[in-house]
């Protein structure tokens, strides 16, 4: 496997937003397949970020810088992914739930999902259940993603799912949730279809939902 992959993973992990996109360019020049650059270089880097953050070995500033390096790399890689025939694999509507304005995690999941080939409709933060419902009607997504950072706001996820159910839309979407206070057990309890523990895990779950994993 090309050394570029490994160096790219390291650049993402170190949050080097200058080096990472240059390494993507180098990989492309060497004739590496765009999708391989994503799957073998960028994604493993972000996976490691997720693992270290959870263990408390990395903090929010470092994660933000890694996300920034990832974003800069995807900017270079995305046109190549499209040109190489990568199709959109699905549509996701996502937002941070009502009462919560923390969007770093949600943005990370959004970025990883876009990288993986999803069309992402980002509803932002402090999103009312009604806004989720309107977006489902308007965009007809395959997946709805919800995020919350606070234990105070995670219950808004349950309320949003109930509202989607009452609007008769529950069966047409898969629902995934994420955020510091929630886990798979909580997801099951509130009737979500799955939980992602970090950005890459969120996009893996989304891929599974559309049968692209």
């Amino acid at each position: 496997m090309s050394r570029v992959y490994e160096r790219l993973s390291t650049a993402i992990l170190e949050g080097d937003a200058e080096k990472a996109p240059k390494l993507v360019e180098r990989g492309l020049e060497q004739g590496l397949v765009p999708k391989d650059i994503l799957d073998n270089g960028l994604v493993p880097g972000m996976n490691e970020v997720g693992v270290r953050f959870k263990a408390g070995d990395m903090f929010v500033p470092e994660v933000l810088m890694s996300a920034d390096a990832m974003q800069a790399s995807l900017k270079v890689l995305r046109p190549e992914l499209v040109a190489s025939g990568a199709k959109l694999i699905g549509k996701i509507v996502m937002g941070t739930v009502k009462g919560d304005l923390h969007d770093i995690g949600k943005n990370l999941v959004g970025m990883m999902c876009e990288g993986a080939g999803f069309e992402v409709i980002d509803l932002g933060f402090n999103v009312d259940p009604e806004k989720f419902i309107d977006a489902i009607k308007e965009h007809q997504p395959d997946i709805v993603g919800m995020s919350a950072l606070l234990t105070t706001t995670m219950r808004a996820m349950a309320l949003t799912i109930r509202a989607i159910q009452e609007a008769g839309l529950r069966d047409q979407v898969k629902i995934m949730i994420g955020g510091a206070p929630v886990d798979a057990e909580f997801a099951e309890r509130i009737g979500a279809d799955g939980y992602g523990s970090n950005g890459p895990a969120g996009s893996d779950l989304a891929k599974k939902f559309v049968g692209a994993a």
Binding site: G56, M65, G99, N126, T151, P181
Partner: protein
């Protein structure tokens, strides 16, 4: 529930509540009072490990009072072991500082994007200005500010919560300095006289529990959680 009557009382609390506990805890009520570093708040997964070790370090079955809320799931999964645990049923210390769960929810619903400051938090915790000053040597001023922007750009309000006018006046200059820094994100500054009512009720409960355990049981599902020996703290116990 086995009777905690006559059990020695141990208090394990976040440093943030040190001041109010020192003022309100009657002499001799607790056999031991341990204040934990507020930094545990940063990594909730480590918080439970450290708290568990502290709980387990007591040989004699005790009534252990935890000066914490759910704190980002930091208390989740804590096992009582041979002890009885008593915990305020709150998300974090803000409800404890404001005096009730309802006051917290009222503030929360009016402006979700609120950053709270208090004496304890200013002395032992962190705040945006302190964070920025810690980031600068590590990342340089420009990158440091970018990181700050990512974290705080959607916040709308900064509130200083003090228990009395004297504290308010003492901590106002520092809070206002932070408020000036936070104006960058359009955050406005407000002050609230909090209340030690919640902590006072916690202590009253401990005092009565030492005499009559029936009182403890009555509090389950109210503003406090009682975890009997062998029990475990679960996230859903805090949801109300």
């Amino acid at each position: 529930m086995p009777s905690p009557e006559g059990l020695p009382v141990v208090v394990i609390s976040c440093q943030v509540l040190q001041d109010v506990l020192k003022r309100l805890l009657p002499e001799g009520l607790a056999r031991e009072v341990i204040y934990m570093d507020y930094g545990l708040h940063q990594v909730p997964s480590r918080m439970s490990g450290t708290l568990q070790e502290t709980i387990d370090s007591f040989e004699q079955p005790s009534l252990i009072v935890l000066g914490y809320g759910l704190c980002g799931n930091g208390l989740r999964g804590l096992r009582a072991g041979k002890h009885t645990l008593l915990v305020p049923r709150v998300d974090d210390c803000i409800a404890l500082l404001l005096g009730s769960h309802r006051s917290y929810i009222r503030e929360f619903e009016s402006v979700p994007g609120t950053y709270y400051l208090s004496k304890g938090w200013l002395e032992s915790g962190s705040h945006p200005l302190k964070e920025y000053n810690e980031y600068v040597p590590k990342y340089g001023p420009e990158q440091a500010m970018w990181i700050m922007d990512q974290q705080y750009q959607h916040y709308e309000r900064l509130i200083l919560v003090a228990h009395d006018q004297a504290d308010m006046e003492e901590y106002r200059p520092q809070a206002q300095e932070i408020a000036r820094f936070c104006e960058r994100w359009g955050m406005r500054y407000e002050e609230r006289l909090g209340s030690d009512r919640y902590v006072r009720r916690l202590i009253e409960l401990v005092m009565s529990a030492v005499k009559d355990t029936g009182i403890l049981q009555d509090q389950v599902n109210g503003d406090f959680l009682i975890i009997p020996p062998g029990g475990e703290i679960r996230q859903e116990q805090f949801i109300r």
